[in-house]
Symmetry: C2
Subunit: 211 residues, 2 copies
């Protein structure tokens, strides 16, 4: 592998880091918009999403070009993995947009009923933690950090279960609309965490793969 | 491009057709299980999912190997696209499993309350139609058919909107649990259709791409 090619691989990695930061920031802002009914902030998240999508297309084009130019078993696997990571990060951005849109739909009212605010605050903290670890793992090629994501995801799954427990309890006073919003928002956070775990697995395999 | 390589490309295409058939059959059975509370059928869907996942891994391995062996701008793009199509088909299989699990969760009761049965029957028909068109488009490399998927997806989106209209109407008698099930199931069908549209776009670009 020439130094030039190594430099181009590093550039692809740099784009992934930028995408991961954007996917984290989007969900962070979407969560803040959701929990404080902040219309402008939610709007901002939906507008930024196009940037993540463009980055993903740029990365794909660059990878296709590199693969066509530099046939090498090892690099092909790495470059394919970069495309898969980009697809997961793009999806994380989409899920942040779904959260932001839920906030916009109920504005000026809250999309999260008071009974669920604490749970969604906890879910958004776990989501931010997962996304932060992805940024670090991609930046530092840190397989150990990447491997920790599974445990964080277990916390998210537990919060998700508690959410349904609250909504299905006899004491649930918020009616159908609040429950539908809660169910869908819960799913967005759970999927965001799943995508983050997928990114972590790819990073772990990239770093530890001897090939 | 040697004939041998063309044959290997065709083999990759054949695996995609097999996956598409399985993703269609899974959702067809999941829908039947959902609408008739058929426990055994729902169970079958969850078990078959592993087959789709294995096919996806087999396809990926073969593509990596082909890319590494046969550097060629045109084929690289095609092979990358095959991986993306496989990822969408795998996701369609996952969504069928989600529908089947919803049926299992409420068994022996129905996961779809009577008020929503007709809507979900319509959504499952659209899903099956979309999946059938994907199978045909992949089999016949039919870009025209692939391009029709967008219109079918509009029908699904309209059904999805009606679903929320029914659940949020004043007359909704089924309480929170029925609404949560309805909201999540609605999302599974909507996402299944989205994934099908993505497959259609990839097929259309493969067939019409001059490169």
């Amino acid at each position: 592998m020439s130094d030039g090619f190594g430099g181009e691989l590093a550039q692809v990695g740099g784009t992934l880091v930028t995408m991961a930061r954007a996917a984290r920031e989007s969900m962070r802002q979407a969560s803040a918009a959701l929990l404080s009914s902040d219309h402008a902030l939610a709007q901002q998240v939906t507008e930024r999403d196009a940037e993540i999508d463009v980055l993903s297309r740029v990365l794909e084009d660059r990878v296709y070009e590199l693969v066509a130019r530099q046939p090498d078993g090892r690099n092909v696997t790495k470059l394919m993995t970069a495309i898969r990571v980009a697809a997961h990060l793009e999806r994380m951005g989409d899920l942040a947009v779904h959260v932001a849109r839920a906030a916009l739909r109920r504005h000026p009212g809250p999309a999260v009923v008071p009974e669920l605010a604490e749970l969604f605050s906890a879910m958004s903290a776990v989501a931010d933690d997962l996304a932060g670890k992805i940024v670090s793992a991609l930046t530092d090629h840190d397989a150990v950090l990447a491997a920790q994501l599974d445990a964080d995801d277990d916390v998210m799954d537990e919060l998700h279960r508690r959410l349904f427990g609250v909504m299905l309890s006899q004491e649930w006073p918020m009616g159908v609309e609040g429950a539908i919003d809660g169910a869908l928002l819960g799913r967005f956070y759970e999927r965001y965490a799943d995508q983050a775990v997928n990114v972590g697995r790819h990073v772990a395999s990239l770093v530890t793969d001897p090939a």
